[in-house]
Symmetry: C2
Subunit: 134 residues, 2 copies
């Protein structure tokens, strides 16, 4: 499985992630997005109302490299943040069955290659990083 | 002024932003970051405990193109999100006076070139976009 149980719990409790894509000039853009964890494929499936018309969808078509991050603040005093960053390659898929209401038939499917986790795994200290086998 | 009054109010009420940078292979990374609005320079100044040792700091040294996004959920029913995305060029600065406690002396200074705003400006409808004069 791509994600640990603690990561799956964390992902299921968060509503928005932020997706970084790179345009044809090598410049990033960064967008809040809704997502679902696809247990069948081990991917993060990102959608929206008119996903097929978005610049991020076009970016992914040209450059598959993406970074998707979820974070939240557990406490400001002491300062405590949790985060899960997924770097990997994405596909811009058309004509998919929408995995949730509000998604159009286009999906950005993110296949994790490297995962960075902070503050999510019980008992773990500092940032953990791991590679995901293809 | 780079930001409108409504944008400044929004920025001052948000604790975390997410910064997308691009590595030497053209792949993005995406990190939750603390920031201050620098009224003197019209920039977003991003810092942290050991900023100078981070990959994002190294990324900015090589590729100045960044995207910084702030968002929040006003309501889930009806679904209502606000966001402010800043695309621009950043400098990796060393030996700065830390603009807030918890920042080291290295700062990523983001100079906005294009701003996308959704749900922040009173009376505005849909996504607004504008370019910032150099």
């Amino acid at each position: 499985m791509t994600f640990t149980d603690a990561e799956l719990r964390y992902l299921s409790g968060q509503v928005l992630g932020r997706l970084a894509t790179v345009d044809r000039h090598g410049a990033p853009q960064n967008n809040p997005v809704a997502f679902v964890v696809n247990a069948d494929t081990g991917t993060i499936d990102i959608g929206g109302h008119r996903m097929g018309a978005t610049r991020k969808f076009a970016n992914v078509r040209r450059n598959a490299a993406v970074a998707f991050v979820i974070d939240d603040i557990v406490s400001t005093n002491p300062w405590q943040v949790r985060c899960l960053e997924i770097r990997g390659r994405a596909e811009a898929l058309s004509d998919q069955e929408p995995p949730r209401p509000g998604f159009s038939r286009e999906i950005i499917r993110v296949r994790p290659e490297r995962i960075f986790v902070f503050g999510i795994e019980p008992g773990a200290d500092g940032m953990q990083r791991r590679d995901i086998a293809a």
